[in-house]
Each structure stands twice: as C-alpha cells, then as structure tokens.
Point group: C2
Chain length 189, copies 2
Amino acid sequence: MPRAGLTPAIVADAGAALADEVGFAQLSMGLVAERLGVKTPSLYKHVTSQADLVHRIAVQAANELADSIRDATQGRAGSEAFTAGAQAMRRYVKDHPGRYAAGNAASPAGPDDPLTAALGRVLASWAAMLHGYQIDPGQEIHALRMLRTMLHGFATLEVDNGFRIDADVEDSFTWMIDFVDRGLRSLDR
Amino acid sequence: MPRAGLTPAIVADAGAALADEVGFAQLSMGLVAERLGVKTPSLYKHVTSQADLVHRIAVQAANELADSIRDATQGRAGSEAFTAGAQAMRRYVKDHPGRYAAGNAASPAGPDDPLTAALGRVLASWAAMLHGYQIDPGQEIHALRMLRTMLHGFATLEVDNGFRIDADVEDSFTWMIDFVDRGLRSLDR
DNA sequence: GCTTGAGGCTATCGAGATTAGCCAATCCGC
DNA sequence: GCGGATTGGCTAATCTCGATAGCCTCAAGC
C-alpha cells in the first residue's frame, strides 16, 4: 500500500474545502478521509481529533479573511476603505461559508494558540477599516464591536438563508454600510 | 411501571430548559429522557425525531421572544420603544441562550408550520420597534434587516463569549443602540 | 372486568468518532 | 545499497447517540 503523503496542513485544506462544499455541519472525518483517498483512522496520524481539525480550519479561515480585508482596503482610506473592507468580508463568507463556520466553532486555547494570532489579525483589519474616522478613543471599542456585530450578523444570516423576503440582499448590505458610514462620519465634532 | 404522562409540549419544555442549562450543542435525546425520568426511546412516542424536538423548542423560543419584545415596548414609542425592545431581545437571549440557538437551528417547513407564524411574530415585533421613525417605505426593509442583523449578531457573539476585550459589553450595546437610533432619526426628510 | 390503544421498555441497528495494534514503506546512518 | 527505527497506512473493535422494532402493561371506556 503506497503512502498518501499526508500532512496536518493537507488534511486541514481538504477539510476546509469540504466544509465549504457540503456545509460545516455535514463535515465528518469519513468525508475528509474519502476525499484524501484514505481510511478514516489514518487521519488521526496527522490530526488529534475532529476538534483539532476544525481548529486548524479556523486558523486558516481567520488568516484568509484577514488577508482578504487587507487586500481590499490596501491604498484606500475613510469611507472607501470601510466599504471595501466590508464587501471583502461579505464576499469571503459567501465564498467560504464552511470555513467561516469553522472559525466560529473554534475558540483559541491560549496566547500561544495560532488561532489567537489569526483572530487578532482579523480584529486588526476591522480596526483598520475605522482608522479614517478619527473616532474618539473612548468610543473606539464600541465602534469596533458594532462593526464586528454587523458584519458577523449579516454574514451568518445570509449564509443560513435567514433573509427570506425577496428584496435584494445586496442592496440591504450596501444600505447598511452606508448607514454606518454616515453615522461614523457624524461622530467626530 | 407507572406512566410518566408525557406530551409533546412537556418534552419540548424539558428540552428547552436543558438547552439553556447545558448549551444547545450538548442537548441530546438521552439527556432529555433522563430529565423526564424516562428511557430514551420513549421520547419517540411524543416527538418524531431530535430535529422535531429542536423545531418545537424553536417555536417556543420565537413566541417567547416576541412576547418579551411586545411587553417591553408596550406603551412606548420612537427611541424609547426601540431601546426597550433591543434590551428585551438581548436579555432574552442572555437568559435563554439554548432556546435561541434552537431557534436559529430550525427552519420553517412551510406556511402552515407554526414556526413560520412564530418567526413572523418576532419580525413584526422588530418592525414595531421602527414604527416611530417615519422611515421611507423603500428603506423600511433595509432598516429592518439592519436591526435584525445587529440584534442577532450581538446576541450570538455575546452568548458565544465572542467579546474578549474587557470593556463593558453592556456599554457597547447601549452605545450601538444609540448610534442606530440617531442614524434612524436623521433618516427622515 | 374486558378490551384496546397509547405509552413505556428492552433489544438492536447504524452512523460516526476514536483507539489499539499490526505491518509495510520510507528514511538515515553506515 | 543495507538494516533498523520511525512513520503512516490498514483492519478490527469500542463507544456514544439517534432511531426503529416489537413486546407488554397501564388505564380509559364500555
């Protein structure tokens, strides 16, 4: 029996791809094994458990998301950076719903956990979206949480098919981003 | 062996209580059975499947949530109704995280599904929170979706322990509600 | 008190995660 | 190249949990 040449990273990649394809809830060790042309128990030579696999997918997702937002806001500032970053986040979640769900299912285990660093990068990319608004330092944390709340809330609702009315969801998103942008701009004085 | 005198409603109640206690993800048929002093297979005389149980919990949760918001906004209007409704929703989710999670896990099966009606009540109670703002009809759906996005996003993040920085989450919530209130008030013209 | 159906139970199945233990493939120093 | 050590596959088996089958009794109505 020839070896498949797996590594933890390869297993995580396959898991991430499958999560996007079949949905995070349907992800199973058996499915990942099948995708890799291997029997289920073999995966445990590279990954300690399903939770470990999910955790690795989460790290990957957080880094990819942070990269997406960084690329989108590159060279932009203020409202432009804000809208571009928001659209990038939404696009990422729509393109990779399973990965994003994995990211929400995992929690960082401590300061040395790579997930901690990856989530920190995402948080920093959101903070960067707010830089142009000259927000009073005392309100910065609130604005950041609001931003996170909206982006996360919209993403999860859209992915779960939560918007049932047939009005264009795209319009609603841009309307919401515009609403927040105006509010943030009228914050300084 | 004396009969336990179960009904679908009693099973759903036990499931809802357990979901809040141990977390929705930990909810199992065995746990519900144990709580009711019965063996697992007996539950299937009252509930067709675990999905059915979750669905019933979801209906209950949606109705309770709609009631909470209705009670909180009773006799109030405009900003006051808005903030009271938002606080009521947050309170409900904090008090009943498992039920709320069940509500998000289930989807209505059709127009006759009681869940459809219950979710409609929730939607209506959110819409009522916006009544005082004289929103342009063309923007109403967007404002409603934004409201839902924020309330849902905040609730899920808070329940999942998503806010790690130690600033007061309560403050962030009222700040966000205030932010939206001001934005909505400056919408009309 | 008899019948009958609902509601409880035991036994069992099947899926899916995980572990144990075997054995071949690769790698490393010689 | 060669031989051992290690790595990475495999089969077999365990455990948990949802779900089904089929039995058997309780209790309501005649």
